[in-house]
């Protein structure tokens, strides 16, 4: 991480530590999560899908949050914190546009300026979210370098922040980047795990599911739901796209201010990820996932674009829920491994809704 940003990250860490221990801040955030974002999100039992797969599937419905994904949990927390720190402007990166939309939303709510960097390739495939961000008053700037996807949007957001750090907060969208981001973003998403744990305790005879699964790009929604079950016997399974499998195919590396598994060439140049899902098109992964993998507490599976397309359609057809392509990855793994999972209860984090992907799927499915 550039030296210029070190004092800002230290200041952010101190501010977050202070805010997180301050009941007034917590109450304010909880009120926003309840009255603005619509929490708690329900757990939906998938009767028809479960019957078809022979696996009991429960969905944690983060897709029902305001703005349509789990990203709002983190963004409301960071925006509130930025305001408390006296910052007047947010910069953010976005892949699929969900974090960008959430950032633009929080900025509108709190009267802050917002600039969102988005890979040029992603701007094309996620036109709907680009328009939403603009409606919300944010400026959307294409990242034109490198692979022109999420990784490059992060680079551009960091470059912006290097120049604007005095009045600007970098509202990073996943459990990645320099300290304190992986920790802070995780804390803001632990609400997913806490709620799920309580809901499962009421819903399930055994109180905890056999398996908890979520898609992993940077890994924020997975860390959020895993956090509620880390101290249980539940198996934790992160699902990566085959073309962006940092844990599955990466080696340790350092980029964007973190040391984690990273897809690289033989010299350490960061490789481009390729996935149907803009939100998972990232060659790295949050460092806590690298840790969970290396200590064996979580395991990471990879699914192909074709398997994801099948999962996307199956959930739509059997449950009337059109998933975002990102959580469709987790479902694709459940479908593929249904024989091994037979008779088990699987809690899947439905991290976002699929409206944003419908245009892309229309082209693919014809």
């Amino acid at each position: 991480m550039p030296e210029t940003l070190v004092p800002a990250c230290q200041e952010l860490e101190a501010a977050f530590r202070d805010a997180w221990a301050d009941q007034t801040f917590r109450d304010e955030l909880d009120a926003l999560l309840a009255d603005y974002a619509g929490r708690p999100s329900p757990i939906t039992e998938c009767h028809r899908l479960s019957e078809e797969l022979g696996v009991r599937v429960l969905l944690k419905r983060e897709d029902l949050n305001h703005t349509g994904s789990h990203k709002i949990n983190n963004v409301l927390g960071q925006a509130l914190l930025a305001k408390r720190m006296g910052k007047t402007r947010l910069v953010a990166e976005t892949g699929a546009g969900q974090h960008g939309v959430a950032s633009a939303t929080a900025a509108a709510l709190m009267g802050m300026e917002c600039k969102v960097f988005m890979g040029e390739v992603d701007i094309e495939r996620q036109a709907l979210n680009v328009f939403r961000m603009k409606l919300l008053g944010a400026e959307v700037v294409p990242a034109m370098s490198g692979s022109r996807t999420l990784k490059d949007a992060v680079n551009e957001a960091m470059r912006d922040w290097v120049g604007t750090v005095e009045n600007t907060h970098y509202c990073l969208g996943s459990v990645m980047g320099p300290h304190p981001y992986p920790w802070m973003v995780r804390e803001f998403h632990t609400v997913i795990g806490k709620e799920s744990r309580e809901q499962c305790a009421k819903l399930l005879e055994n109180e905890i599911p056999d398996v908890v699964t979520a898609c992993v790009g940077g890994g924020s929604n997975a860390i959020g739901i895993f956090s509620g079950f880390a101290d249980t016997t539940a198996e934790l399974v992160g699902v990566e796209p085959a073309g962006g499998a940092a844990v599955g195919r990466g080696v340790p590396g350092v980029v964007h201010g973190m040391k984690s598994y990273l897809m690289q060439d033989e010299f350490g140049q960061v490789q481009e990820a390729h996935s149907i899902s803009a939100g998972l098109d990232y060659p790295g992964v949050g460092p806590e996932h690298s840790h969970l993998s290396s200590i064996g507490r979580a395991r990471y599976e990879q699914v192909t674009d074709a398997e994801v397309i099948e999962a996307f359609q199956l959930l739509s057809r059997t449950e009337g829920i059109i998933p975002a392509l990102e959580p469709a990855h987790a479902l694709a793994w459940v479908i593929r491994d249904r024989a091994k999972l037979a008779g088990k209860t699987v809690l899947l984090n439905m991290s976002g809704r699929g409206d944003k992907d419908v245009a892309q799927m229309m082209e693919i499915l014809g």
Binding site: M1, V6, G268
Partner: protein, 276 residues
Amino acid sequence: MSASLADEGLVIPDAPTEPGEFERSLRSLRDNGRKLLVAYVTGGLHDEWPDVVRAVADAGADAIEIGIPFSDPVMDGPIIQEASELALRDGASPVTVLDTLRTIDAGVPLAVMTYYNLAFHMGHERFAASLYEAGVRAAILPDLPLEEVGPWATAADPAGIETVMLAAPTAPDERLPRVVARSRGFVYAVGLLGVTGERDALAASSLVIARRLKAITDKPVLVGVGVSNAQQAAEVSQVADGCVIGSALMRRVVAGEGPAGAGAFIAEVRAALDAS
């Protein structure tokens, strides 16, 4: 491969008290009243890059920073990003750049400027040794801040590679002396809040950071980032010991001005520094 996820701790070894070869060279020029000029050249950009290095040295650069292109240069603006991308597309790698560098007899001290993952990936010891073998005596890793420099510096110091630290305008007063103490070769004063690239005018922050650093160290203090032409170089060197010129030079190289154009530009900056 030595890269691992293990936490190597935050122990930062003290920098050796004796200046290294690179720093001694800059100090002796400075102490003779010369304003220092370090030029940045992207390694591996076009086949002619060794000639650009020689031309820049002949035109009066006191040392040269060779950029080893990286896929994600977060401290660099559009020009050096483009230069890096073009070089990578031409097949540049740490190995090709260092192999070529070994054959260039520039006659001035050489540093490399690159990003930490390339050193981490190759392994600190191996990377430091390969720099030394290629004739490089200093390294600038702009995404490796003081807190993280320990494992690299532990390998670089004994290998004869001086690690130049960046001092940014955002650093509080208590931080600057620690950055300076760990810096070898020279102290790289970041001239402004922002990434590398040309600016219409010299940022006032350039003079402020130079003044703050000159007040606490006798190591050479060079301002880089945003120093865009001969006049700005002379202006900032009124306070600093000199400057680093990168984007302004690479814009000319990317535009195809070749070794002659690069040399002419550096000669112009040299003349302005000598006249100041």
